[in-house]
């Protein structure tokens, strides 16, 4: 079950056989019969709402009277980009996303390398390590909030015991520690996924090559870079893309732990957009903020495609 196998799978069309047209599977309408119900569904619940949201971002629309929209052109975008608080939101989003990507992949790789060695009970260890990924976000937010509770939380008790206690203990109410705490919780939930995916990528590292490098006197680090890294590089790239997109759209964990607070210290784009819509009741600005997020995601996706293509061609190593 390696990722590599999966990516290779779609290419297994029978080679050398000329494609027959028209499709031997039935009339040319057959595929549309199969996909129509699902496509209709996605059209109604995803495509149409998205188009409406794009429209909203160019209007002034209030939550209390949503049927009356006033076209304001680029006003919403001008306003949010001129707002220093939005600049901070963008900065926090970038910090949040990059930290999630780097630490989740780094920790996942470390755990994958650790669990890749043979030892007794490895199967159990591999299963247990995925527990955080399987836990519902709501439950994670709840237990994290309880563990970080200022008075009775186990984290504060532990930090106090080792002499690192936060004054007053209210980690999630501190503009300094709230973001690290939210990040730690996020990464706790993400690292099992990255480690399981990397673990399966590690299965395709040729062991004889590793041994050959070691016999040739290459150090551990050199062997890792020359052999292992070359094999898992595409998987790391894929994970970086997934982590970026997931982190850009993550909502409930942050919302339930801090609501973006204290004073905006954990306010990412999605949190900002939700509070614009439902606290400030400004649907137009909310949509504009959402569009900024969508455009960033698109840039990341297209950029990663270009990088991947360049790597395939050997222009970038």
């Amino acid at each position: 079950m390696t990722v590599v196998e999966q990516t290779g799978a779609p290419k297994t069309t029978t080679p050398g056989r000329p494609r027959r047209r028209p499709s031997p599977l039935g009339s040319k309408w057959t595929p549309y019969l199969f996909l129509a119900p699902a496509a209709l569904f996605i059209l109604v619940f995803q495509a149409v709402p998205l188009v409406q949201e794009v429209y909203l971002s160019f209007t002034r629309t209030r939550l209390l009277n949503p049927t009356r929209s006033e076209w304001v052109g680029l006003d919403n975008f001008n306003r949010i980009f001129g707002d220093p608080e939005f600049h901070r939101t963008l900065l926090i989003t970038v910090v949040y996303v990059i930290t999630c990507v780097v630490v989740a992949i780094g920790a996942g790789l470390a755990v994958a390398l650790l669990l890749n060695k043979k030892f007794r009970g490895r199967g159990v260890a591999r299963a247990l390590v995925t527990v955080p990924w399987a836990a519902p976000g709501i439950a994670v937010a709840l237990i994290a909030t309880w563990m970080l509770n200022a008075q009775y939380g186990i984290v504060n008790r532990f930090l106090d015991a080792v002499g690192l206690g936060v004054p007053g203990g209210a980690i999630l109410d501190s503009s300094r520690y709230a973001l690290p705490a939210v990040l730690a919780t996020t990464i706790w939930q993400l690292f099992p996924f990255t480690s399981v995916v990397l673990l399966s990528a590690l299965q395709s590292v040729p062991q004889d090559l590793n041994e050959a490098a070691t016999v040739d006197g290459a150090g551990r680090w050199a062997t890792f870079r020359a052999v292992t890294w070359q094999v898992i590089k595409p998987t790391v790239g894929l994970l970086a893309l997934l982590m970026t997109i997931w982190s850009l759209r993550r909502f409930e964990l942050i919302w339930l732990m801090t609501k973006g607070g204290p004073v905006g210290a954990t306010e990412t784009l999605v949190i900002d957009l939700y509070s614009q819509a439902f606290d400030s009741k400004e649907l137009g600005s909310a949509a504009a903020i959402g569009m900024v997020g969508v455009v960033i995601s698109l840039i990341v996706i297209i950029g990663s495609r270009l990088v991947a293509r360049a790597v395939e061609k050997g222009e970038v190593r």
Partner: protein, 276 residues
């Protein structure tokens, strides 16, 4: 020889630390649920569950609204599972076996939808739901959750069908089977493990979903457990043991099922994203 031993010990310690970090929060949820008040607020917290307190799980289900929440979550999750897999199988089949006009666009749309935050879509969907009187209904949540999980379900199933040799279908077709029959008789049984994995993904997508549920449901009797549990956060009226007991009952099935089909879920999710 000595260095070797040291390496092994260090690795065992490292593995135990990682497992401790992975499991501790849920363990702590369990311990908190099974703590007496005096243990909970003592200077030295109790680090092991007090099994004498086991009644808290029974009470949590019997007294409060927790049983109703979990039942609502179950209804939404089963509905989403049936609908999204039911729609995902033919869509995956069409994407795998046919070439048709619009296929590239459809594939891009399926990948694109996975980057849209629920929080962005909640406003236009609210308007849509109001118009079609889907607010305050579990059916509405089934529909919207199915739409959001459908792309990944379809992409995973497409990948699974790609892996089946076409010759099997050609043989069936030579015997006069129609496309729909080929799909249900030949492909579906062969991709059963992937169908099971997508069913689990869809089920727990809906089981865990929060944003739509909290925005579209006003009637407390229709609230799913995700909303009920989220409302506990920052609220002081309910004993923390009850809160943790309900959260634990909500978490346990998700963790148990993921562990069962983890292999397929993880490879499926990466495969679904690969072409992005």
């Amino acid at each position: 020889m000595r260095r070797f031993r040291f390496g092994v010990t260090a690795r065992i310690v490292a593995v135990l630390v990682v497992l401790g970090v992975a499991v501790f929060p849920l363990y702590w949820m369990f311990v908190t649920a099974l703590s007496s008040n005096s243990d909970l607020f003592a200077d030295q917290p109790r680090l092991t569950p007090d099994l004498g307190q086991f009644g808290v799980f029974v009470d949590a289900l019997a007294e409060g609204k927790a049983a109703g929440w979990l039942l609502n979550s179950l209804i939404i999750a089963v509905g989403t599972m049936v609908l999204s897999v039911g729609l995902g199988i033919p869509l995956g089949y069409a994407l795998s076996r046919f070439s048709f006009w619009g296929k590239a666009v459809l594939t891009v749309v399926l990948l694109f939808t996975q980057m849209l935050p629920e929080a962005l879509m909640v406003v236009p969907l609210f308007a849509l739901f109001r118009r079609f009187e889907l607010l305050d209904s579990l059916t509405g949540l089934v529909l919207v959750n199915s739409a959001f999980v459908l792309p990944i379900v379809a992409l995973i199933l497409k990948g699974a069908i790609d892996g089946i040799p076409k010759e099997l279908e050609e043989a069936a077709r030579a015997d006069g089977a129609r496309p729909f029959t080929t799909l249900t008789r030949i492909n579906v049984p062969l991709i059963a493990p992937s169908i099971a994995a997508t069913a689990v993904i869809a089920f727990f997508h809906a089981w865990n979903e929060y944003v739509f549920a909290v925005t579209f449901i006003f009637n407390p009797d229709l609230q799913p457990a995700s909303v009920g549990i989220a409302n506990f956060i920052g609220e002081l009226g309910t004993p923390i043991q009850t809160v943790m007991a309900v959260a634990f009952l909500f978490t346990l099935p998700a963790v148990a099922f993921y562990l069962l089909v983890q292999k397929y879920v993880v490879s499926g999710m990466t495969a679904g994203a690969v072409k992005g």
